[in-house]
């Protein structure tokens, strides 16, 4: 019996202790007509060898393409030590650290994670992760509604240059509480959210403005002006940021005069593999004054009976297991292991290493754009400076070109027409530090052939 250790003798001894004749007797409180019949879809069990072989064949089927897609998930080199340590049984098979004395390893790791996220984002505090960047934005929006005492509105301003998947998820989650996301157009030339576009909303009551940096098109917003505009109009600022970029870019805590109020983002670039979209982790940081509105687990440092320092879950009165219907969120299980991997990743890279990763991503994307726009009919769409993604216009519909590239085993980018009808012939491309010169060359050659 896979993973079940009982011998026939064990079963008999256990039944005798219970005073039951058979295992079936233990289900005698369940009405007979509810008992399940046969399971039909499930095949016979496999051995570990067989199941592994089956999955290895499936995994091989999908491998081998050269990927230039970003759009919210980024391929980076992950040092070997990261997952070797994260998947140690002591981290991998522990539960949420409810018994603090027997969970100091996990708890200290989270405290270190909170510290490093606060430092990276320039904020005062961090929680211990939420599901992912998109659901993290929904939590940030709900948090802003609770935190902004100056606003009575349930409306939040969300530029169209914010990741459309984040906007969709946030709408799906928050609309149940009558929250309205109001779009702000982006400038057709720069691809940025401009003060002019925001001016249309000046004086209106909104709880918050969402600012993504870099934005979905890879472009660098004028975060200082946007932040100051929001604060002048009594809105909180929710920053959505890429953690790799923060090695180079102004941390949200220093945006404008006062800095952002809540910061969220996708933690995946910090040592978490692409893995079809998860498990990743959403990070969430805030200013100290809003900490009691934060969702999710938070770890604090304290002392034990003998005055020795130790770590424990704290501010639990925000959470569902204490406050039930009055909790800040329903989140319980988070993305702890991915967060652990990120802590190890950031420690291994350090400030210089992470900056080098960010710089290579930026430089590679610039080089890729130069190579691709050298091809007839291919041009860069927006004028704004970018971090590590850029939008290219193609002479043919993007979907068609991407399909032809895929046949050559090149995943050429994200088809923006899916979310922006006006960009139907545009792709969002990304080249991280994992793409070398010959990869960029291969993409240019393939595109040339496809467009010829």
């Amino acid at each position: 019996m896979p993973y079940i250790p009982h011998t026939e003798d064990d079963v008999q001894a256990m039944l005798a202790a219970i005073g039951a004749d058979s295992i079936e007797d233990l289900f005698d409180e369940i009405p007979a007509h509810l008992k399940a019949g046969q399971l039909k879809a499930l095949p016979e069990g496999l051995s570990e060898m067989e199941a592994t072989a089956l999955m290895a064949a499936r995994a091989r089927q999908d491998a081998g393409a050269l990927c230039f897609i970003g759009a919210g998930a980024y391929e980076h080199h992950i040092p070997a030590a990261v997952w070797e340590i994260a998947t140690r049984g002591e981290f991998y098979t522990a539960y949420t650290p409810y018994q603090a004395e027997a969970s100091q390893g996990t708890l200290q790791t989270i405290y270190e994670y909170q510290t490093l996220m606060a430092r990276l984002t320039g904020m005062d505090a961090s929680n211990a992760s939420v599901y992912d960047g998109a659901s993290g934005l929904s939590e940030a929006v709900l948090m802003a509604l609770r935190a902004n005492r100056k606003s009575k509105s349930r409306r939040v301003l969300v530029p169209r240059s914010v990741n459309p998947r984040y906007r969709q998820a946030t709408d799906a989650i928050c609309s149940n509480q009558d929250v309205e996301l109001v779009e702000v157009v982006f400038d057709a030339a720069s691809g940025l959210t401009t003060p002019a576009a925001l001016a249309a909303h000046a004086g209106d009551d909104f709880a918050a403005l969402v600012i993504q940096q870099p934005n979905f098109f890879g472009g660098l917003e004028d975060v200082h002006a946007l932040t100051d505009w929001a604060h002048a109009n009594n809105m909180l600022v929710i920053a959505v940021v890429n953690p790799t970029s923060l090695a180079l870019l102004t941390p949200p805590g220093e945006w404008g005069e006062q800095g952002a109020d809540i910061v969220v983002g996708e933690g995946q670039p910090l040592g978490v593999p692409l893995s079809s979209g998860g498990p990743y982790f959403g990070f969430m940081c805030c200013r100290q004054q809003y900490i009691r509105q934060m969702p999710g687990r938070i770890i604090g440092r304290t002392v034990d009976l003998e005055g020795k320092p130790g770590f424990t879950l704290t501010l639990q009165a925000r959470e569902q297991h204490i406050r039930r219907s009055k909790a800040t969120s329903n989140i319980c299980t988070n993305q702890g292991l991915a967060m652990t991997a990120a802590t190890i990743y950031a420690s291994l890279l350090g400030p210089d290493g992470l900056e080098a990763v960010a710089a290579h991503c930026h430089a590679n994307t610039r080089t890729l754009v130069a190579k691709l726009t050298a091809i007839d009919g291919v041009s860069e769409v927006f004028s704004a400076p970018v971090f590590h993604e850029a939008v290219l216009r193609l002479p043919r519909p993007a979907a068609e070109v991407l399909a032809a590239l895929a046949e050559k085993n090149i995943l050429g980018g994200y088809d923006l027409g899916r979310d922006y009808p006006e960009l139907a012939d545009c792709v969002l491309v990304c080249a991280t530090e994992t793409r070398v010169e010959s990869d960029l060359q291969a993409y240019a050659k393939a595109l040339q052939e496809v467009l010829a």
């Binding site: 990927c67 319980c332 299980t333």
Partner: protein, 493 residues
Amino acid sequence: MSGKSIDQQLIFELSRPGRRASAQAPKALPQQALANIPATLRRKQKPGLPEVSELQVVRHYTNLSTRNFAIDKQFYPLGSCTMKYNPRGANRAAMLPGFLGRHPLAPESHSQGFLACMYELQEFLKDVTGMQGVSLTPMAGAQGEFAGVAMIRAYHEARQDDGRTEILIPEAAHGTNPATAVMCGYKVREVPVNRDGDVDLEALKAACGPQTAGLMMTNPSTCGVFERQIDAIAKTVHGAGGLLYYDGANLNAILGKVRPGDMGFDVIHMNLHKTFATPHGGGGPGSGPVGVSERLKPFLPTPIVGKDGEQYRWLDTDDLPQSIGHLSAFMGNAGVLLRAYFYARVLGREGMIRVGEYSTLAANYLLKRLQAIGCTAAYPERRASHEFLLTFASEARELGVTAMDIAKRLLDYNQHAPTTYFPLLVPECFLIEPTETETKETLDEFIDAMEKILAEARENPEMLKGAPYTQPVRRLDDVKAARELDLVWKAPR
């Protein structure tokens, strides 16, 4: 402060300016490579990440890991959490390079292997739950609950049945249930539970009405017993026009034996990080797929895997225009789903049925033996499901020893404590879930430990108040933690 041993230092305290794990990162580029980025948008000071060597990192986190209890090291009978063995084979399969390297937005042409696994997993989950449709996207139990209740709301709205503003929840329910109902815009009304652990049916009937959107319940409940009146409950809620939500956190108890769909539930979530043996990772990730009856299928969260002939493809909001939509950026916790898929393939049809059987056997054995050494069952007349409740109310009253004291003392006996003080309606309680993967010898060791602790409670209750004694730290000051918040480390000046 008393002397700190080396392994307690923070990674930041190990940091020295200029130290680097240089093999880990690409070579530094000249600043002109960044000339394109406006100076006003550049960071002025380096972020304060640790500057340490690779060995220091490896040693630090390896040492930290050893300061944890874990299934791989100890018996971990946390009720409602299903801490069963997490097969290493599942981990290896999910970490195959082809799976780890697949971009979530890769075209279907380059995703057939992954999609095949997900499609089959959807089918398996439908089969074991008796539901008609499954979406794998929710990232944990609570997000599954959110999806489920949001679907209930979408269903009523689609029928213009607008007066339904309330979700009913038995008082024993997990905290995520009421928190979820509120996130979905509902008011919560709690329903009392009888002294035998079943729902108070009369109270439920009185609470049901045209304002009822649905009932959320767990069966077996978090009282560790099977709700015997489930037929009558389903009839009552459906009769009032409400829908029935099944919190599948306790599915392990009935896996292969009873199917929620056959009990009349309209929508359920499963916790794959419980029932399907995927690890908890010190707090997550989990995965909380939802299953629905025919009438809720149009509302399932997207994307879902469909099949056209021999080709698998994503079904998204174009295919399911009434869907409640995307709850995350991509398709859910794929790596967790792959582990669950591996587990389902290894167990197969027969293995699934054994899960419910042997987890129930273990719980009933443990309950009977603990009663025999003097523990008080909260529901002595009832069979245990895969878990059961003890109460230490009399020890608290007579000896001044609380469930918390006993829990902390268990750590000294190298046993992880059961869930304490949940559900809230039973005072001084332990919710104990041994799972099917523990040997009888392990259960016996736990019983021995409990017997010794009960003797200690009578002979030396003060000693228990000071437990634990053998862990890296003694009992921690939670009040100080909340009053004098220290959430991030600041270098001493």
